[in-house]
């Protein structure tokens, strides 16, 4: 499978893999396959950056190679490494052969020359342990290369990537330059925790992936087959969008929306009420401070006309049967206060 013929086709191919695109994403995928340029996806966690790479690999029938970046990563784990152990082992095993080679050398100088002439044996591809980047370049079949969370790696690694991103080649000083037989589709993702170098950005097409529109999010939730009734899914998406508008430390992502929908479906909920949502809100909101904020806002999000109670506790009394739930959340709040003081 090579490049897509049109933007629509790209969108459809991804949709067939369960990844719903909007115009922007479809255009990006189309152009990326046509121009064979790397793509840099920036955006908050959980908006489907990594998923896009997986879906693209599936849609184009390519193998997915993944380089997960982390702090303090060095180029050896990204490009290649010499397999010293293997080299030493071979040297030992071939000791006799080497001995023969230099046996009839008249002097030391000549012996060194002879061994020098054989040097390339030990610095050949045989002893090269390929890491994702080199593997992508050397692959017989075209691949999709995912460089995940590039912003976590140090700046030094960015520089290492430049040759790969610009020319699809990797230079190994001892051997030479590997150039990609088939240009891989390269997708870089970044959570935007730091600004990337201009040189890197320049070599890539760039897309800022944000939280999706309400319709698209609903479509995604629907397509994931969560088992939540349509009406509730619609309401849930609206509530999540409301939560995103609060100033949370980490806004709920698409994947968390889906998790929430699944959770509610498993619980067999047939009506979205504040207590039910409060009980399960920890699925989408992961920080203590955020949980408190979300709990305070939930009743208003569920029913904008509902009177916002003074405290969550009071709200619990309002609906006698739901007394249990808000109490738990209130306790949670006070406990964290206690820890602070």
């Amino acid at each position: 499978m090579t490049a897509f013929d049109s933007v629509e086709e790209a969108g459809k191919a991804l949709a067939a893999q369960g990844y719903l695109t909007d115009d922007r994403l479809a255009t990006m995928v189309f152009l990326m396959t046509r121009l064979e340029k790397p793509v840099l996806l920036e955006g908050p966690a959980g908006v489907g950056k990594t998923e896009l790479a997986k879906s693209l690999a599936a849609a184009t029938g390519r193998r997915l190679l993944r380089l997960q970046c982390y702090e303090g990563q060095d180029e050896a784990s990204a490009l290649y490494e010499w397999d010293y152990g293997k080299q030493l082992l071979y040297t030992q095993i071939l000791r006799e052969k080497i001995g023969q080679l230099v046996a009839d050398a008249p002097d030391l100088h000549d012996a060194v020359d002879r061994i020098g002439a054989q040097e390339s044996v030990f610095f050949s591809e045989r002893f090269l342990a390929a890491r994702p980047l080199l593997e992508a370049v050397r692959a017989e079949e075209p691949v999709v290369l995912l460089i995940d969370e590039i912003d976590r790696a140090d700046e030094a690694l960015e520089a290492v990537l430049l040759e790969m991103l610009g020319e699809y080649q990797i230079s190994v000083p001892e051997i030479g330059t590997f150039t990609a037989r088939n240009r891989p589709y390269v997708i870089l993702t970044s959570n935007n925790t730091r600004d990337l170098a201009a040189a890197l950005k320049r070599r890539c097409l760039h897309l800022f992936l944000d939280y999706p529109s309400a319709e698209r999010e609903l479509d995604i939730v629907r397509s994931k087959d969560t088992g939540l009734p349509e009406a509730l899914a619609h309401q849930l998406v609206e509530i999540v969008r409301g939560l995103r508008e609060l100033e949370l430390r980490k806004s709920p992502s698409i994947s968390e929306t889906i998790d929430w929908a699944r959770t509610l479906a498993v619980l067999g909920v047939d009506e979205l009420t504040a207590p039910v949502l409060s009980d399960t809100v920890s699925v989408v909101v992961k920080y203590d401070k955020d949980v408190r904020k979300a709990l305070a806002a939930l009743p208003r999000l569920v029913d904008p006309n509902a009177e916002v109670p003074e405290t969550l506790h009071g709200h619990g009394h309002g609906h006698g049967h739901t007394h249990e739930a808000p109490k738990v959340s209130a306790d949670r709040g006070s406990r964290s206060f206690g820890r602070r003081s």
Binding site: S6, D23, T27, L31, L35, Q92, E155, R194, H206, L207
Partner: protein
């Protein structure tokens, strides 16, 4: 199409969007792909992919794209070629040539001489800009270019009418919301021993406005002070108008540019700041240490390999690999945000924000006579908002007199765990403790705990000795003290630190 796109890129550059030549070529290739030109929305996204590499440039791109390709909707056949017409509303139909600029102000106000369509000069100025720079007193509209008028006339009859532009200066101990010191007052006057609350300040200002019909002597005195400003005003205006006439041809681009300056001044400066910071940080990071540590990956260490493999008769079955340890320091930034450094504090905090954005492991603190951690504040808010919060007094009392001693003492008491032997402490401030106890012991303790202490001060070295500056005493404990008051200074320091 090439020409249109090139022009489009030029317009984007005028808005300080950084676009390189390869990116322009990418954009051309994108546009050349089948199906891209058929749909305006698709073209927009395609160009955005190729050209916009920063989320904050999105708004500028949207705006310019919409303006530039505005005519595409009319006829699908002329993609992008319509730009020439799309700016029709900007072309100037009033005959500007008839502006007369005379060296001498005329005696009496005269009627304008234009024929043709009367043009409103107001349109050629940025209103808010005018009100600030050329209108000395907004209430008295004697020389108000921002008001609706067809002609401007400078008359000798009313050089100074009423109290327009008279200036009253007042020095106080404490003042809130005064802004940058330089803007507040250019000269020091007699100091009034008083503290003004905001209400008192308002009352005072109200009273000053009422005192329009002052005594003749006062007025004369004030006029003398003001003379310089007014004399230069026609000059300045003339220069401005001439510049505008000159720019008439390229009015489109001028407009773009002016809007850009208002909206996002310092976009390029931010880029520069980023560069300098990267350089600075690479020096802070400290080169690789000489210590070699055994690591699972790395180079083979011949000596250790031989030693370990002695039991195999020197046959190196299990190689020992080592790696040079990279001792990456953590950064703790202490920034003075008191009034005395207010002029540079903005820059300073931009610097802190930039540092935090670019590098992990940065903790920042702001202090006046109290110290508060701002790490989260900067992490959560964009820089403008964070600065607003700090200077608004939400974080700490910014109107107090700076007290370095107390701030250092409290830092040591509350946050001493932030400073370890891997930490570099960066102090940003002028070291003017207003005669308070400099608390050298606390600072010495901080410096002792830290691996390195760097002090960046906005004040030139010669003035350190003047009035209440404790910097020379602090400097003994710092490993480096540098004078940095703006970007170029920072750049110099960064270079200096890197090369040594």
């Amino acid at each position: 199409m090439e020409a249109s796109l090139h022009r489009f890129v030029r317009l984007l550059r005028l808005r300080d969007v950084r676009i390189s030549v390869p990116e322009t070529i990418d954009a051309l290739r994108c546009a050349a792909e089948p199906g891209i030109l058929a749909d305006r929305a698709v073209l927009k996204e395609a160009l955005r992919l190729a050209l916009v590499k920063d989320h904050r440039d999105d708004a500028a791109f949207d705006e310019i794209f919409d303006a530039f390709f505005a005519l595409v909707r009319v006829g699908p056949a002329e993609h992008g070629h319509g730009h020439g017409h799309s700016h029709d509303d900007l072309s100037d139909t009033g005959e500007l040539e008839s502006f007369t600029l005379s060296e001498e102000p005329s005696e009496t106000p005269q009627q304008g001489h234009e024929h043709g369509k009367p043009s409103d000069i107001r349109d050629y100025f940025d209103q808010s800009d005018l009100a600030q720079q050329y209108n000395l007193h907004q209430e008295a509209n004697k020389i108000d270019l921002a008001s609706m008028t067809d002609e401007i006339v400078f008359s000798t009859d009313n050089t100074v009418t009423g109290d327009a532009g008279y200036r009253v200066q007042l020095d106080t101990d404490r003042l809130h919301g005064a802004g940058v010191p330089g803007r507040l007052s250019r000269e020091t006057g007699t100091k009034v021993d008083a503290e003004l609350s905001i209400a008192e300040q308002d009352a005072l200002l109200g009273w000053l406005e009422q005192a329009a019909d002052g005594d003749e002597d006062d007025a004369a005195q004030l006029r003398r002070r003001l003379a310089g400003v007014l004399e230069n005003l026609p000059e300045a205006l003339k220069r401005h108008l001439e510049a505008l006439l000159e720019l008439e041809n390229t009015v489109v681009e001028t407009r773009e540019k002016r809007a850009a300056q208002v909206d996002q001044a310092g976009e390029s400066e931010r880029a520069e700041l980023e560069e300098s910071l990267r350089r600075l940080a690479s020096s802070l990071r400290g080169a690789l240490t000489h210590r070699r540590r055994i690591a699972s990956a790395g180079r083979v260490d011949p000596g250790r390999t031989m030693r370990r493999n002695m039991r195999f008769d020197g046959i190196p079955f299990s190689p020992v690999t080592v790696r040079r340890a990279d001792d990456r320091p953590r950064l703790v930034v202490l920034a003075d945000v008191s009034l005395s450094v207010r002029a540079t504090a903005r820059f300073t905090l931009h610097l802190v924000h930039g540092l935090q954005n670019l590098f992990a492991q940065v903790r920042s603190f702001a202090f006046v006579d109290d110290i508060a951690e701002t790490t989260e504040l900067f992490a959560e808010h964009p820089v403008e908002r964070a600065l607003g919060l700090i200077f608004g007094g939400d974080v700490l009392d910014v109107d107090a007199n700076s007290n370095y001693g107390a701030a250092f003492g409290e830092f040591l008491a509350e946050h001493s765990s932030a400073v370890t032997r891997r930490t570099t402490v960066l102090v940003l401030g002028d070291g003017r403790g207003n005669g308070n106890d400099p608390n050298l012991t606390a600072f010495a303790e901080i410096a002792r705990r830290a691996r390195e202490t760097i002090w960046l001060t906005p004040e030139p070295r010669y003035s350190w000795g003047l009035g209440g500056c404790d910097l020379p005493a602090y400097a003994e404990h710092c490993s480096k003290v540098r004078v940095v008051r703006d970007l170029s200074g920072l750049d110099r320091v960064a270079l200096d630190l890197v090369t040594r």
